[in-house]
Symmetry: C2
Subunit: 342 residues, 2 copies
């Protein structure tokens, strides 16, 4: 029996995600800005794990934006080198939806920047030719209109930031100070300014609200200071409440759990509202009625869909929770399988 | 000849500032969240430098809010311990404007939290009994109404965040994603969302605009990763432009210097507008016409004053640039001198 194994790799700035075309997935927290050389180790480990049966690797990325690189060009070339020096047969998915070899990346690196959402949307478009594809992850949210099987989104992150097709916030790593300008605390009209530090992140809000578990809090907490070797106990509900209170220069002694939970609820409301705003524009512009949701934050999609009376389809139900959470890696695995077999 | 030396110490979360009543100042970048034990070293060095001639030390703080502490109470007690174990005669300035010894801090720590602005305002109120005192530093901005010599501000950070007497943004360390929601780039109506990472800070904007020098960029840059030993060259104008471009998921190849400078200008505009909004409310509420400005960001005060037709007085001109930049430390030195001599 000859086994054809196809591996999809999605190199992000914070996480590198791996998926096989037959549905095995893993997500590795490997922040490029902290240690970009570690990408080589992560990929080498993947090769040891899958290498003997590996037919082809398909790759997408967003990690080129990491601020360890001076430019996206430099970042794409670094990530290309890490992949191409590890695997014999790696194919890079470009922004026209075509696989290319490493030499094509050398010729035009920017054609391969921020490509991961396009792999997902390409696969989704086959099953759902008229839908808004939403992938809400740890850090960012893609909101991609698909009309008659055609992907309507702009092709660069900059363009998508203008159209609302990229919302740069997610359900784990996003600084609360980037989502909220003020919060209400006491049920009255009074609103309170927010500290502009990295005191609390969306993971703190969703842990406190019960939308994610401690195990799903899969990034560093703002005051874990992992680089100093302090990680213990910083993902408890209590520590998350403390971080939320700190956002208004306060603590649980002053604010109480109730006050901190109120802040968490406003984080969720803000994130739902931002997504709903983007979805409402696309619903109006393209006449779309269906949302196809991937990513670890699909509970946000559920609420936004309800507000807008859109029909949500959850890829976690169609595939599995794990596949939906690492959908670009899975999508590029499926696409490279088809490309190679064709 | 007997020399009476009075030292004021302002322990912040990022910087510890020292000033003598006769006008010598220094500011030491010593982030508590990175290494709180270092505070003991910084204070020990201060004792070696000034100790032999030291009559009394006056102390104020804001560092208790640092997220290395679980609560402000814990933070105040830690800072108290660092000071009291180093100096024989340290007096803590409380939120009623009185000096107390360490045992009083033990009894009621929160009476000593976030006290530094009150020392400044107390000194300023003597010279300018009807004025809005503004201290715009690296991280925060205090906006304190003084009417008939009486300080009108709320006494807690939480209270001041509600009234606009504390604006939690400054001219060096503030994440641009906490100041701006969108930016314009091409002179048209199009606005672009902002990446919620810590990609660029206000110091990047003001360096690019020429409002501060590389030497005045006295905090870590977002991608210097000082804790990893990479600090070199990350405060150049070029690197600041790159960080600004990254805020819209872009780079200088795509955006050009012109685009990055446009982002910087919008950062400044936002910061001036926020301050002007707070000043306008106080001008209306208290009928105040004069601003007394301290802090390294008084160029922002100048612009906000112009917008509102308020009369600005700069403590950098009254005293010196250095004293105005570390005004709470100087103020508490002067106040403890008077307290001790009286």
């Amino acid at each position: 029996v000859v086994v054809f194994m196809f591996l999809g790799i999605d190199v992000g700035g914070a996480n590198t995600k791996l998926a096989t075309a037959d549905g095995r997935v893993e997500s590795l927290y490997a922040p490029l800005w902290r240690d970009k050389e570690r990408l080589f180790e992560v990929l080498a480990a993947a090769k040891r794990k899958y290498g003997s049966e590996l037919e082809a690797v398909g790759a997408v990325m967003t990690g080129e934006l990491s601020d360890c690189f001076d430019s996206r060009r430099e970042g794409v070339l670094y990530i290309k080198e890490a992949l191409a020096s590890t695997f014999n047969s790696v194919l890079f998915f470009d922004l026209t939806g075509t696989f290319q070899d490493a030499s094509a990346v050398d010729r035009d690196p920017l054609a391969f920047a921020a490509s991961n959402w396009l792999a997902s949307a390409t696969l989704v478009a086959e099953l759902y030719p008229d839908a808004i594809f939403v992938d809400i992850g740890s850090t960012t949210t893609d909101v991609i209109p698909i009309v008659g099987g055609q992907i309507q989104a702009r092709k660069t992150d900059l363009g998508r930031l203008q159209t609302g097709e990229l919302l740069y916030s997610g359900i784990l790593r996003t600084n609360i100070a980037a989502l909220l300008r003020t919060v209400e605390l006491d049920g009255g009209d009074a609103s309170y300014g927010i500290a502009s530090e990295l005191f609390a992140i969306t993971a703190d809000a969703y842990l406190v609200l019960g939308d994610i578990s401690e195990a799903e809090y899969s990034c560093s907490s703002p005051n874990s200071y992992a680089f100093l070797g302090r990680e213990a106990k910083e993902k408890s509900r209590e520590s998350a409440l403390r971080r939320l209170a700190r956002v208004v220069c306060s603590d649980l002694e002053e604010l109480g759990e109730r006050g901190a939970v109120r802040i968490a609820a406003q984080v969720k409301r803000a994130q739902v509202d931002v997504l709903a705003g983007s979805l409402a524009r696309m619903k109006a512009e393209y006449g779309l009625e269906t949302i196809v949701a991937a990513g670890i934050g699909d509970f946000i999609v559920r609420e936004a869909a309800e507000v807008l009376d859109l029909h949500p389809v959850f890829l976690s139900a169609v595939y599995s929770k794990e596949l939906a959470a690492t959908f670009p890696a899975y999508a590029v695995a499926k696409l490279v399988e088809r490309w190679s077999v064709a």
